[in-house]
Symmetry: C2
Subunit: 315 residues, 2 copies
């Protein structure tokens, strides 16, 4: 059974003759004749009665005709779906991100993007940094926020994330343009737990600076830390992408011997996987958006710039 045979079958039934049908399906008359014969032979039944030189559907033909139509329609729908996918008008995108990324960058961007591209279905997968790398490697997501330094993936640099301190306005250190971590030695600190990259960077910086931070609270929720800082309970240590302004507190970038603490963020993908046009378009739009309006950009300008890694965009 062949789609061409079915098409010819339907055409003969519709046009009432092999010759006319042949024209409709861009075939010669003998070819159409043979196709219908081949179909009849394969199905083991006559689809048409040959009444003189006319073709009339048999009962079986009448029964199978609508089914053949459905099959052809389904095939056409498949082709059209493929064309839509190819042109990037439609398709699915799976993007992995950490909760802070989702909150600060992705949420706002997605709302805008979906309005302009209603055919695109965007699935956001929430996971931690290590989990995102694994998902990207397994092909579960097309794109993911991954820190710089993993050579397995291509990526586009987005923006730097730096560690900042959030101090009460009344605090003496809050007027500084930026703040060396040595000055935090005896201050009571409110920090995130070790699953946060910013906490790891902060710890590493303290270690190199030979400082033992006075941790008053370790939390898994940035907003909790921030709220306590507002209440004057201590100095919050957070990544620069928390949203400001907040009342009664001031953010100040941290430095370690005149060097900012943090890393650049990257939107990465697996270069071994074919990246569909609609995914590439989405990626470019997201990169553009993030680079223009990244969280904490006002703050970051106050500290020495982080070393910018090479952008290893291999597309």
């Amino acid at each position: 059974m062949d789609l061409h045979q079915l098409r010819t079958f339907v055409a003969i039934a519709d046009n009432g003759g092999v010759a006319r049908a042949a024209v409709r399906v861009n075939l010669s008359q003998p070819a159409a004749s043979r196709q219908i014969q081949g179909l009849e032979a394969e199905l083991g039944m006559l689809l048409f009665d040959r009444i003189g030189r006319r073709m009339r559907l048999t009962a079986e033909g009448e029964d199978l005709l609508p089914r053949a139509r459905r099959l052809l329609a389904e095939a056409q729908s498949l082709r059209e779906r493929a064309r839509a996918l190819q042109s990037g008008q439609t398709g699915q995108i799976k993007i992995g991100a950490t909760p802070p990324m989702i909150e600060t960058v992705l949420a706002g961007f997605l709302a805008k993007y979906r309005r302009h591209h209603p055919g695109i279905e965007i699935a956001v997968v929430e996971d931690g940094g290590a989990g995102l790398i694994a998902r990207l490697a397994r092909g579960e997501v097309h794109l993911a926020y991954v820190p710089v330094g993993d050579a397995r993936f291509s990526g586009r640099l987005l923006y730097p994330i730096q560690v900042i301190a959030v101090l009460p306005q009344a605090h003496a250190l809050s007027r500084a343009r930026c703040l060396d971590i040595a000055k935090l030695a005896d201050e009571p600190l409110l920090v995130l737990n070790r699953s946060f990259a910013s906490r790891q960077w902060f710890d590493a910086a303290c270690q190199t600076a030979n400082i033992k931070p006075n941790v008053r609270l370790e939390s898994s929720a940035p907003n909790a830390v921030l709220g306590l800082a507002e209440a004057g309970y201590g100095i919050a240590i957070l990544p620069s992408m928390v949203r400001f302004p907040r009342r009664g507190v001031r953010p100040v970038p941290l430095v370690n011997r005149h060097t900012s603490i943090g890393k650049w963020t990257r939107l990465a993908w697996d270069p071994q996987c074919f990246l569909a046009p609609h995914v590439a378009a989405f990626r470019e739009a997201l990169v553009d958006h993030a680079q223009r309006a990244y969280p904490g950009r006002a703050l970051i300008g106050r500290a020495p710039p982080l070393a910018r890694p090479a952008d290893d965009d291999a597309s």
Copy 2:
């Protein structure tokens, strides 16, 4: 796009590899490889990412895979439907019949037949004799009750229909084994109108016998005629297939010079049309039923048998 390509596509996705898929679809590995490449080329997109020596579905492939499955399932359903039609387990039958035929023969038979063949859909088309011939010629019905004598159709003889008189039991002539129409010359008669074949046969017989029948009533309803006969209003002239017994009246076959009046009935079909197995089976069952239990058979035995035409069964 080709069903084979789609089948290979699905097989690769299911079996996770070209080589294994090739075995499943009875192809060599290179053939399967080229099929999927051809499909990808035609759709203008990669369906699989080649990760090392593995094949992993792209986003597009994942999108199109269920559609391909549906298409293949639809094709399989078409094949299975064709097989069912071919084996005669299912299908449609259109049979044309006159109202008396439907009432006396078909109704009872259909009830029985449908119980034993639930897959068969039987459509009964009610029409007059001339209408049935036209419908048969146009292919609107597969089978029809048609009088003998039409060479265009093949047919199987069913049973003779003879013209009978229905007399009040008290009538002197009601004791006869059969009755010559000459004896009806002066009796008040209740006859059917000229659209009934039996009426035409009766008229023809009267003409050859040089008799002017004394028609008291001409009706289009056999039961009305019969009812009036029961009421003693006259002698009813009817075809032999009316159902007996009736109270107070006796049926007597009519003869014209020792010759029965009537014709054989035939179940006919268009020999130019392919007769599907399930239609042929239905036909045989109906012929068998009609020949064994035809209406008026007890009555007909009392008159000289009608000349039996050749059974021109050309199948």
